[in-house]
Amino acid sequence: MREKLQNIKNEALAQIISVSDQEELERLRAHYLGKFGQLAQFAKELPKLSPEERINAGKIFNDAKTAIENAVNSKTQIQNPKSQNLDETLPGVPVRVGLLHPISAVAREMNDIFRYLGFSVADGPEIENDEFNFTRLNLPLNHPGRDLQDSLYIKEPNIVLRTHTSSVESHILETHKPPYRFVFPGKSYRYENVSASNHMVFYQYQGVAVGENITLANLKSTLETFVHMFFGPERKSRFRCKYYPEVEPGIGVDIDCQFCNQKGCSVCKNRGWIEMLGGGMVHPNMFRVVGIDPAKYSGFAWGMGLDRITMARYKINDIRALFNGNLVYKI
């Protein structure tokens, strides 16, 4: 019995392996596995055996059947990658994957670029006091710069939700000894009536590098590298003088407007350039507050709108959609 089954199995496998067309394979399948095939004939014999024999034979029988089935199946797949009956345009079985929030995805892209330039990632508190949010950023109490941002207050007059991630820079200056290089993406808050283009919650991406002999030329290289890696090697950037209380000298960086190829359009207000970020050399007053000699050390800092860049990257034209459930995750 055992021998007979073994022979059928070996014979079947040999034939199936060497078969070269679909019809022949189908004929072999019917011959061995079909309703009136060899194995079916065999199965009829099983009840006639003694109980002990039956257990043993059943096991061998099953082994043989599985082996032949597997051989036919795998041959079918190899033999016939394009099955005649299969509409391969039918969708595959959906796979559930999780996606990052677009802001996290863009922050990650940026972190990767700046890590490559030797930066680490920092973060800091979202509830801030007046000192770290304003004073240490060279914005004393009566500075007109404080008008630029209308704060959300937790406790008047000096506890706010941070109005920019520059407050993280205040903490970095306070805690770290140069040289250091940090980037810090994060949430910021301001008094703003929510609309498609403005929100009381927004995201910034800032960075700072402090050490000896750090210059505007280094800032230029760092940001140009960023622009080329993030926006593409063909993109152009322009550096111009700009005022921010926390830097001196200050810079504004624009990138070429791709909507009009710099010919001038409504997106770039006919300038041919789109404002992208602001920065400059860390203001000497900020070093003095933390006891660092501004004649010995220098550093640069910059900041940009993480949410704006994210919206441009993913073509999201309503800032509210970043937070309110109106964003479709397409996978």
Binding site: D123, P144, I159, I214, T215, R238, R271, G325
Partner: protein, 617 residues
């Protein structure tokens, strides 16, 4: 700042091409906002009040294009009255007024000359009469606001500057506009009542067709106070915009001299008083120690000392060599220049930011020191997305009703000035926001919901404001689906005792929010997790060359599954894995994998263990 180009060309020769002009202005710090019909509009810089006058703009143009600045004609003022009879400043207001200079003159009211009307209209100010127009014209030229009173309407014919009384009323020059003042507003009064504010003139003493004598003034006030008054009274004028900036008191005189010249020429002005010049603490000129090497140290570019001096001289900085350094005195109108770095910016911006080379950061690359609080968030983002969860971000402040519904309003922090009073509570948990988000998706007929958020929550503790990073997730499915997520997350993190509470959303809440699907949620304190996170997790081992023995056993559960499994694990080190295959009431089928790395197991190794195992239930 609106700059009509033909007006600007009074003071400096302009390049033929407007674009060349505006490009250059943009790069040196005055970005073009828009340009139309020979009028350009430049973005205001917070620290450059001199650019709120056309002469200031012209000076920048002259410097960049190597042209001469032509200052307009002026007349010498009458002598200073030592008694300062026209102006008194009350003690209470002395911190708010730095300089107040005034004198009176007879004038002939009439229309302004046509060219002046045309220019003022091109700038966007309505023309009234020659006197008022001249004060506006000079403000636009110099950036210094000034005001003319009708002397005959001033009771006592002199001015007293004081703080307003709380609730005091004032009628502005805008017909019908009456504002209520507070004790923080500065008022400029005659012997009886307020006549002007620093922000705006008054109705009572405005110059009209009947006016025959005026009192002309120019002043410098405390900027912060002007700004606050402007915000409080909601009055924004061309004068208020300028007074809010750090105008230098020295600018008062050239402005008055210019106005006096125009008043003589176009309104037949004849002085009737000396000049009352209230200026108790004249601002001293400051000189700044400057090393030319600073330009290279901060700017990363070599510029010759000769070029530096040429640039600074053209911007009217005074330079005196002093040993190896220079003593540099900025002109009074450049109130933004305070230290060496400011001078570096002046040189660089005029020389051209585009000339600065691009040089990669050099020197030792600092040790990587990404904060653990950031790193763990990124790790969690990786794990949660692997587990099939989408990341969302919800607002840090939640709807007050939602806060109450979730019972998280007791220790919650409220915003003092929320833009929307309904959304004024800082979240103490991520779950209300996630629930609201999930509800929105359910309403879109999305049935398979798996969301997570990583973010700060906020609450009060011992009178302090505390913020904690949390990971929250919410999911459809059943308890064990979520438990599976938590278990795998624990394995990925290498934290075996990650056992957060898994909760079904409270039926009272789901009812209130109209959610008909069962939702489970978990919230984990990420700040605590940082300390539990092992520095390294090994998810891998080599497969043994000896095959395992696998068998299914049936067992009756008489305790918790957890404690049963712990007991089984302790029976033998050969038990490598226990899987739950089936469960019916308290009958379990467990698949036990016996395995050794050192030898081939036989039934004689396994059967004693199996016997102990069976005796457990």
């Amino acid at each position: 700042m609106i700059v009509p180009l033909d007006w600007l060309s009074d003071y400096v020769k302009l390049p033929k091409e407007v674009k060349l002009l505006t490009d250059k202005l943009t790069v040196i710090g005055h970005m073009l906002d828009k340009a139309k019909d020979n009028i350009i509009d430049l973005e205001l810089r917070g620290n450059r009040p001199d650019l709120l006058g056309l002469i200031g703009v012209a000076r920048e143009v002259a410097t960049v294009f190597n042209q001469k600045l032509k200052l307009p004609d002026v007349s010498t003022l009458p002598k200073i009255d030592k008694g300062c009879n026209l102006v008194k400043v009350d003690k209470s207001a002395q911190d708010l007024v730095y300089r107040y200079t005034a004198f009176s003159m007879k004038i002939k009211i009439g229309p302004s000359p046509g060219w002046m009307i045309k220019r003022l209209e091109s700038w966007g100010v309505p023309t009234i009469n020659n006197v008022v127009d001249i004060t506006n014209y000079v403000m636009i030229e110099t950036g210094q606001p000034m005001h003319a009173f009708d002397s005959d309407k001033l009771i006592g014919k002199r001015l007293n500057l004081r703080l307003a009384k709380n609730g005091e009323k004032f009628s502005t020059v805008q017909q019908g506009q009456i504002v209520t003042l507070s004790s923080e507003d500065l008022v400029i009064c005659d012997d009886e009542s307020p006549q002007t504010l620093s922000l705006i003139g008054g109705w009572g003493s405005k110059v009209s067709d009947q006016t025959s004598e005026i009192l002309l003034e120019a002043a410098t006030y405390n900027q912060a106070n002007c700004r606050r008054s402007s915000r409080r009274l909601k009055i924004v004028t061309d004068a208020s915009v300028r007074h809010e900036k750090l105008l230098h008191p020295a600018q008062v005189l050239p402005a008055l001299e210019r106005a006096y010249y125009l008043l003589q020429k176009y309104a037949s002005a004849k002085p009737t008083s000396l000049v009352s010049d209230y200026y108790p603490n004249p601002t001293a000129l400051k000189s700044i120690l400057f090393y030319s090497s600073e330009v290279k140290r901060l700017g990363g570019i070599d510029i010759s000392v000769k070029t530096m001096i040429k640039i600074l001289t053209s911007l009217e900085f005074k330079i005196v060599k002093s040993g190896l350094s220079y003593k540099i005195t900025p002109p009074t109108f450049r109130t933004d220049i305070e230290q060496s770095a400011d001078i570096v910016e002046e040189i660089l911006r005029i020389y051209g930011y585009d000339q600065i080379p691009s040089i990669p950061l050099s020197g030792i690359i600092p040790q990587p020191m990404t904060y653990s609080s950031y790193k763990i968030q990124e790790t969690l983002r990786d794990h949660m997305t692997i587990l099939g969860f989408d990341e969302v971000i919800t607002l840090s402040m939640i709807n007050n009703k939602l806060a109450k519904l979730f019972g998280c309003d007791a220790d919650a922090i409220s915003l003092i000035n929320p833009p929307d009073p309904d959304i004024a509570t800082l979240r103490t948990s991520l779950i209300p926001g996630l629930t609201e988000y999930a509800r929105k998706l359910l309403n879109q007929n999305i049935s398979d919901i798996k969301l997570f958020e990583i973010g700060k929550v906020f609450y009060k503790q011992n009178n302090k404001h505390v913020e904690v990073i949390k990971l929250g997730f919410i999911s459809t499915g059943n308890f064990f689906d979520i438990k599976g997520i938590v278990d795998t997350l624990g394995k990925l993190l290498g934290i075996s005792n990650l056992k957060p509470q898994i909760s079904q959303l409270d039926p009272a809440i789901t009812y209130e929010l109209g959610i008909k699907t069962s939702l489970y949620w978990v919230e984990i304190n990420v700040d605590n997790l940082i300390h539990e996170l092992p520095p390294f997790v090994n998810h891998y081992e080599i497969r043994s060359i000896y095959p395992p023995i696998i068998e299914d056993i049936n067992i009756i559960l008489t305790e918790s599954y957890d404690s049963l499994i712990n007991k089984i694990k302790k029976l033998s080190s050969l038990i490598k894995q226990i899987d739950l295959i089936d469960k019916y009431e308290n009958k379990l089928t467990l698949r036990i994998t016996y395995h050794s790395n050192s030898k081939q197991l036989s039934s004689s190794d396994v059967s004693p263990i199996r016997e102990k195992l069976m005796s457990l239930s």
